[in-house]
Symmetry: D2
Subunit: 288 residues, 4 copies
C-alpha cells in the first residue's frame, strides 16, 4: 500500500475513435463524485483511428469502491468497444528484476527503490549467475540463481515461470544477457522491459558499443523497450543519447553508455509503473 497514493485511481482505455469517448468517461467520473486530476488522450487518426486515453482521478475510499466502479463502467466500455482497466494507484506493482553479470542498472534501480523514488515492490532478483547475490541480500531482496545454457533454456524458462507466478506484474531485464523464450514472452506480453545499449534500430544484435565504435558514430544511445518475439524489435518506450567522438575507445563508450542505460531504464520503468505506457502495434504511446 502506498499511503501517498490513497484514493488515486487510473482508468486506461483504448477503443476505435468515435465522438463521445472523453465526454462519457468524464461524465461517468463526475457522476461518481471523483475529481479528475489529469486527462491524457491520443488518437492515431480521428476519423478512423484508435483512441488511447488515461484518466487520473481522486475518489475518497477508492479501495473499497473499486469493484463497484468497474462494474458500473461496463456499460460505457461496451458502448464504445473499449479495452480498459481501472486501477487503484495505491496498490504497488510487483517487479522481478533479471540480471546477468553487469550490475550498474541493478544497483541503480535498487538505490532508487530504497530511497522511495521507484514506487514498486521488488519481489525478486533472478540471475543466470550467482554474482549479484550479495547485492540482493544487502537490500533484503530474494535472489534466485537459475543457470541457463543452450540445452537448458526451456527448463530454465519453466523455473522462471514458476518463480514469477503471482509474484510479478512485470519483468525488468536489467542487462540480462540471455534469450527470453516465447512462452514467457506470451505470458508477460508488454510486461517485459529490456534495456538495450544502442539507439535502436541502429546496432541490433550483439556488442552494440563495438559496432558503434566501428561505425564511427558521433552519438551513442540506449533504448528501453518491451520484449517481443523479434529480438530488439519490440515497442520502444524511451531512448536517449550522449555525444562521443574519435577520442573515445570502446571502453569509454561502455562507461558513457552505462549512465545512459541506467537513466533510460529507470525512466521506462517509471512510465510503466505510473500506467503511462500504451502499446500501439509495434510502437508505444507514452503520456509523460
Amino acid at each position: 500500500m502506498d499511503q501517498e497514493e490513497m484514493g488515486k485511481g487510473i482508468i486506461r482505455l483504448t477503443c476505435p475513435d468515435q465522438p463521445g469517448v472523453i465526454a462519457s468517461v468524464s461524465q461517468f467520473l463526475y457522476g461518481k463524485n471523483a475529481d479528475i486530476a489529469k486527462v491524457d488522450q491520443f488518437s492515431t487518426d480521428y476519423h478512423n483511428g484508435t483512441i488511447f486515453a488515461r484518466f487520473e482521478f481522486n475518489l475518497d475510499g477508492l479501495s473499497d469502491k473499486l469493484n463497484l466502479l468497474k462494474a458500473d463502467f461496463t456499460d460505457i466500455a461496451q458502448k464504445f468497444t473499449m479495452n480498459w482497466d481501472i486501477r487503484d494507484a495505491s496498490r504497488r506493482k510487483k517487479l522481478a528484476i533479471f540480471v546477468s553479470k553487469e550490475d550498474h542498472c541493478l544497483q541503480d534501480l535498487l538505490i532508487r527503490w530504497r530511497t522511495g523514488e521507484l514506487k514498486a515492490d521488488i519481489s525478486m532478483i533472478v540471475s543466470n549467475h550467482n554474482d549479484m547475490r550479495g547485492i540482493a541480500e544487502s537490500f533484503g531482496i530474494l535472489y534466485h540463481h537459475v543457470p541457463v545454457t543452450k540445452a537448458t533454456l526451456h527448463e530454465a524458462e519453466e523455473k522462471h515461470l514458476q518463480l514469477l507466478e503471482g509474484k510479478a506484474d512485470a519483468v525488468v531485464l536489467a542487462r540480462y544477457m540471455q534469450i527470453i523464450p516465447s512462452k514467457m514472452i506470451e505470458r508477460y506480453q508488454n510486461r517485459i522491459i529490456n534495456i538495450h545499449h544502442s539507439f535502436l534500430p541502429a546496432f541490433i544484435g550483439g556488442k552494440p558499443y563495438q559496432q558503434a565504435f566501428d561505425r564511427g558514430v558521433k552519438l551513442i544511445g540506449a533504448t528501453a523497450h518491451f520484449v517481443t518475439q523479434d529480438l530488439d524489435e519490440g515497442p520502444i518506450i524511451e531512448q536517449d543519447v550522449s555525444r562521443v567522438d574519435h577520442r573515445h575507445q570502446v571502453s569509454d563508450l561502455k562507461r558513457i553508455g552505462r549512465d545512459l542505460e541506467r537513466i533510460v531504464l529507470a525512466k521506462g520503468i517509471r512510465y510503466y509503473l505510473n500506467d503511462k505506457v500504451f502499446v500501439n502495434g509495434n510502437k508505444t504511446v507514452v503520456f509523460h
Copy 2:
C-alpha cells in the same frame, strides 16, 4: 484562410478547478456533433487550483457556426466562472515583426513563412533602422522604419500603436534592441514575444554572451518569453541550450547562439500560433 485547417476549432479556458469542467465541455462538443481531436488539461492543484484546458475539435461548417457556438457556450462558461475563447483555426493570426540590426531571426522566420511552416500572416516588419528594408521587400512584406531615441521613445510608441492597430494579433521581437514602453505592453498583454539570448534568469540585462563568456559557463542558452513591465522577467515560453567550452570566444558564443535563438523563437511562435500557450501568473503552461 487556411484550407488545411477548415473546420478545426479550438476552445481555450481557465477557471477555478472543480469537478465537471472537462466532462461538461466534452459533453457540449459531443452535443454539437463535433469530433474531439485532442484534449489538453492541466491543473495547478486539483483541490484549490486553477485549471487550464484546450480542446481541439473538428466540426463541419465551423466558420458559419462559430458565433452560435460561442453563444451556446456561455452557460457552461458562467457556471464554472471561465475565462475562455473559441477560435476558428482556419483564420490565420496576424504577426508584426520588430527587428533592429541583427537579421538571423528575421531571415529564419521569413523562410519558415514562405515555405508554409509558419502558419500566420506577417502584416509588417517594423524597425528602428532602415537596414532590413531590402529583405522585407524581397519577401513582399511592408516595412516601417520608425527611428527611436531616448527622447522620442513615446512618440515612437504612438507610431507603433497606430501601425499595429487592427493589423496584429501579436508582436514578435526578433532581436529588437529597444525598450517597449508600458502602454504598448498593456495593450498587447501576453502577445509580445521576445527572444532573449541567454537561459534566463541567468545573464539578465545587456550583452549576455559577454556575461556568459566572463562567467565561464559550459552551456549557453536562449529564451523565448512574453514581454512584461519587468525587463527579462516575463513568462518563459521556451528555452534551449548548447554546449560550449573554454575554446569558444565571445564571437563563437554569438555564432552558436544565433542557431539557438532562431530555433527557440520559431518554436515559441509556433506554440503561440497554435493556441498552446497559457499564461499562469509569471509562468506559462504550454501544451506541446
Copy 3:
C-alpha cells in the same frame, strides 16, 4: 582572400605513430618564427597506430612564404612518412552546392554565407530541377540546371565534372536526391559532403522519416557524412538528434528534422572548411 585570416596557416598530417612527430613539427614552426596558436593531435594507438595532427600557426607574410615553407617541410615529412599539407587559411575554399527540390538546407547555407558565417566561396549551385534558380540568382550565384534520369546518369556526371573542374574544392549535397556515380566520388574523394535525414546507421535508404515513424523511435536525427561508393555508409562527420513522441506525424518529423538537417550540415561544412576533419578508414577524426 579573407583579410581576417591573413598570416594564419594550417599544417595537417597523418603518419604512423612514433616518437618525435609533435616535437619535430613544433620545432620546425618555432624555427620559422611562427607562433603556434593551436595543436590538435590524436593517435589511434600510440604503439602501433596512426597519428593525426593539425597545427594552427601565425606567420607574418605567410602567403609569400608558403611555397618555401612547404619545400622546407619535406625533410620532416619524409622522415616520418607523412601524408601532409600546409594551407594558407586566408585562401577561401570553393564550394559547389547540389540541391534537388527541398530548399531548407540551401537557404540556410546561403544566409550563413551572406552574413559571413560560412567562410567559403560558393562557386555554383547545381540542380536536377530548375526550381531553385530564383533563389540562386537572388544571392548572385551561378545556377546550373542539369537534368538527371536513370538513362542519362553518366551523361549528367560528365556535365557535372566539367562544371566543377577547377571551380570546387568540395561538393555539398544539400538534399540532392540523385545517386552520385563512382567516377565523381573518386575524383572528389572525401570532398563530397552529404546530409542524411536520420541518425545513421539507422534508417539507411529511402524515406527515413517514414521509417522512423513506423519504428516508433523517440529520437530522430540527421547525419553529415562524406559520400563513398557505399550508399549511406561513408565516414560520419557530425550527427545530432531531437526528441519526438507518439503525437508527431511524419509531417512533424519532417519539420523537426529540417532544423536538425540545417544545423548538422552547417556544422559539418564548417569543420571541413576549417581543415578540422580527417578521414580514418570509414570514420572521421574531427578536431572541434
Copy 4:
C-alpha cells in the same frame, strides 16, 4: 597503485604564451624516450595571453625516474616562467567526500568507485550528520561525524583540517549543506569540488529547485564547480540540463535534478582525477 596506468605520466603547465613552449616540452619528452600519447593545449590569446598545456606520455619505469625527470624539466620551466607539475598517473589521488542528509550523489560515487570507474582512493566520508554511517561502512570506508552549528563552525573546520591532513588531495562536497570557512578554502584552493543544483549563475543561494519552479524555467540544471570564498561563484567545471515543463512540481524537479547532479558531479571529479582541469581566473580550461 593503479597497474593499468603504470608508466603513464602527465605534465601540466601554464605560462605566458610565447613561441617554443609546445616544441620545447615535446622535444624534452622525445629526448627522454617518452612516447607522447596526447597533447592538449589552449591559449587565451596567442599574443599576450596565457598558455595551458597538458602532455600525456608513456615512459617505462616512470615511477623510478619521476624525480630525475622533474629535476631535468626545471630548465625549460624557468626559461618560460612556467607553473608546472609532472605526475605519475599510476599514483591514485585521495578523495574525502563530505555529505549531509541527501545520499544520491554519495551512493553514486561509491558505486562508481567499487566498480573501478572512479579511479581514486576514497580516504574518508565526513558528515555533519550520522545518517550515512551505515552506507560508508557497507563500503568499508571510514566515516567521521563532525556536527556543525553556527557557533561551532570554526571548531568544526579545525577538526576537518586535522582529519584531512595528509589524507586528501581533494575534497568532494556531495550535497554537503554547510558553509566551508575560508581557512579550508585557502588550504585546498581549487581542490574542493561542489555540486550545485542549478545551472549557475541562475538560482544562486538556497532552494534552487523551488526558485526554478517559481520562475517557470523550461530547463533545470546542475553545476560542478570549485569552491571559492564567494558562494556559488567559483570556477565552473561541468554543467548539464534536463527539460522540464509546467506539469513538474518541485518534487519532480528534485527527482530529475538528482540524476543531473549525480552525472555532472561524477564527470567533474573524473576530469579532476585525470588532471584535465585548469583554473584560469574564475573560469576553467577542461581538456575533455
